[in-house]
Subunit: 264 residues, 4 copies
Amino acid sequence: MRSSIAWSDQDSITVRGLDLTRDIIGEMTPTELMLFLLKGKKVEDAERRMLDALLVTLAEHGMTPSVIAARMTILGSPEALQAAVAAGLLGAGSVYLGTTEQATLMLQEALNGQSASAADPLSEIAVRVVGSYRERRQKIPGIGHPIHTGGDPRTLKLFALADELGFSGSYIALMQAVAAEASARLGRPMPINAAGAVGAIAAEMGLDGRIVRGIGIVARCIGLLGHLQEEILDPIATEVWELVEDTIEYPPGARSGTRDERRP
Amino acid sequence: MRSSIAWSDQDSITVRGLDLTRDIIGEMTPTELMLFLLKGKKVEDAERRMLDALLVTLAEHGMTPSVIAARMTILGSPEALQAAVAAGLLGAGSVYLGTTEQATLMLQEALNGQSASAADPLSEIAVRVVGSYRERRQKIPGIGHPIHTGGDPRTLKLFALADELGFSGSYIALMQAVAAEASARLGRPMPINAAGAVGAIAAEMGLDGRIVRGIGIVARCIGLLGHLQEEILDPIATEVWELVEDTIEYPPGARSGTRDERRP
Amino acid sequence: MRSSIAWSDQDSITVRGLDLTRDIIGEMTPTELMLFLLKGKKVEDAERRMLDALLVTLAEHGMTPSVIAARMTILGSPEALQAAVAAGLLGAGSVYLGTTEQATLMLQEALNGQSASAADPLSEIAVRVVGSYRERRQKIPGIGHPIHTGGDPRTLKLFALADELGFSGSYIALMQAVAAEASARLGRPMPINAAGAVGAIAAEMGLDGRIVRGIGIVARCIGLLGHLQEEILDPIATEVWELVEDTIEYPPGARSGTRDERRP
Amino acid sequence: MRSSIAWSDQDSITVRGLDLTRDIIGEMTPTELMLFLLKGKKVEDAERRMLDALLVTLAEHGMTPSVIAARMTILGSPEALQAAVAAGLLGAGSVYLGTTEQATLMLQEALNGQSASAADPLSEIAVRVVGSYRERRQKIPGIGHPIHTGGDPRTLKLFALADELGFSGSYIALMQAVAAEASARLGRPMPINAAGAVGAIAAEMGLDGRIVRGIGIVARCIGLLGHLQEEILDPIATEVWELVEDTIEYPPGARSGTRDERRP
């Protein structure tokens, strides 16, 4: 029963060998600390800038289901901000943020620590990857976008930054080959979306695929605070509730016009 | 470091001294088990019927904020039903379900194990209770209703049942005196609402006020399952999301008509 | 955007067509309401008794990870009982309570609305089921027990009750055939455990497999309240924390004996 | 029903007036985005550095109750990382992280937008603050430490940094006056602890007290990911569970020695 992350005695808290007060407060940013905790060694500036970009990409997308859940929760529990944040995070499953993780795992399994080679080029690996998802009738994680068929602008920006910072390698190349193969197989554009870009870059950064969903969780946590502060200062949750309750159709005869009188 | 609730060995699980397989499965209802866990002794039939009534009162009220939060959550995490239920429970704070608990605590503190007496009748105690809330400018828990100024029908039914089952005593009488005093002081009807009725009856049943919110939590858990099953079979969460996102007004110039094209 | 579960007007709350005050409070138990919400029709007494038994089976198993999580949470948030319950529910995933759901889905998919027949007897279906799990190297849900190799006593009790109440049919028979086939294939006893029994009986009751995990969630909710009340009255969470923190081994040289002075 | 945080159209996501792709990704750190969301305007470098320091101060303190809850949760729900993070956040209530918020609110209410003056010096305000807590028999938030009676080293570091970055003003001065007054009244050292330092600096930064708990929530989110990754790679949750279950004393006669055989 061992743990190597942090411990404390009468005088100090030690985090992976560093003294919290002397070496971390005022010396590291939260992103650097996050990488330090996950990788166990001090990080390069390029790594910090790369993870900064991934985090801000996923933080705030407007009035999402996650935000609605958080605002509904603080309406009943104004004394428990953490409960509202938790409610907003709980939807970070397979459908949205989980796709970043699935993309990283897909790429890491496909390359399995190996590079592509003349004998087994990326295009061949991509054919196998796309084939295996189609066989299982599963969506390929990180591929496809309802609007940006020509390419998600966030992906282009993230990949340009990855190139600049030295994180452009086999994983991103494979992701691009997978997108190309999927587009060819399906006969319509299947660009890499933002989740796919985050997943591919996380693989380049050497992060364990099983923790990659955590990037979106930390990011969303930040975004939720902005919405919860607005909800405290200029609340809309009650109106959202009434809008939903009043728009839904109930079985025939369910309501008989007294509704308008109820909430004047 | 002691616990008296349950333990197990190679052959059996023991719950507060009873054998789970022999004495509980097929022998107790969940409500009886809940009371047995909270009170540490086997329950009378009247107690079980009373708690049954409190539980079903709080289980299902339609498209509440709690239900909306749960539906928003399962949209992103369909593989984690427990996360959607948890999101739906997290709003059970001071504003809605917490008022049951506050009502019980208010009554228990006011009577403090004593009965009213000729020297200190309930009407005097009620004057002190109402006065202390007004002094702190706090709402009196369990009192007041936006519509049912003549009396919440759920309260009438619950109090009739409490009377029938032998749970009509000083706590309910004090709650009624508090409602009368508050109505007189405010000059408008302040009936006992359903949360107030649950809180007063929980006090009559001898439940610890600090756990009374748990009645609503178990109840809501049951109600949420009905909604989550409907969401699985006949989903509306995406439409709710779009309805909210599209109805909100953003700052001037924020959107420029491309929205309708986006979700055709 | 429709919902058929509950709605309200100025005078009443209607739950699946019934009036909450008149038809449900004092008239239904929570278990009956749960079945009514899930099935949309009033339930037979046998169904209620069967679900009662499933619920109490899963409610309370002692100092489980779920209970530890809930106790750790109320230590920091004593004002938010719902947060502690939610923390205790969040572990109800694939490893423990989720297996009930997986068992129901396995049986429902295998029989697919059909009965076994002379041409395709249950024993053959069981061979295919066991084979498909072994091929995918997955554990068969609801099968196997670390101690009760001769048969989990809770399973025996639940199946006896199912027989008495008229819920003993093809699903339970298939579960037994699967257990027999798995035992034969693996060369060691693979009895049906309590989760498997619950899953098979839920299938017999016609519940949708995707909501079956909810039985355990409601049950655990009840069990957690018992522990949280004990934690409020006779707390152990701080000692549990210190026990864990002090037992863990940190990297060499991590702590130097000042610990005992720290918490005298 | 208005919101000013973020919105999107076919081509872009706009966050408080900035284009996510062009102005935020690669241009802001998460801390800058957090401040931008909370304050609605671009931040100075000093503000970013100050919030960076507050965040890393609260991120990681070893095997805390929050961490234990998260590890217990992932044991049952390995497929739902967000559920484990949420469980770890749910204890961020009044006892631990909530004290940062309470400290900010205490200071903001005491100064109420005014500075101290010759007629009403900080020492007098501190006397009133300490008096009002003692009258209500409540703990003063952010004051007192079980070990560092001479001064919490994290506080000293944070206040030095606040001084360097221009965030040393009336709120910190009042916090120090409150600590001095409390020490004098109680007759023993009551230093400002790390939560008190964070709360005072948050007040200096002009953050709304009702959202200050969010600093600790984001911070803890980062810390939890480190522990959850360790739990995935080198798990201890089962052993923690067994340690707790086996150390607890159950009622006399509760267990009879079969335990050791159960888990060999």
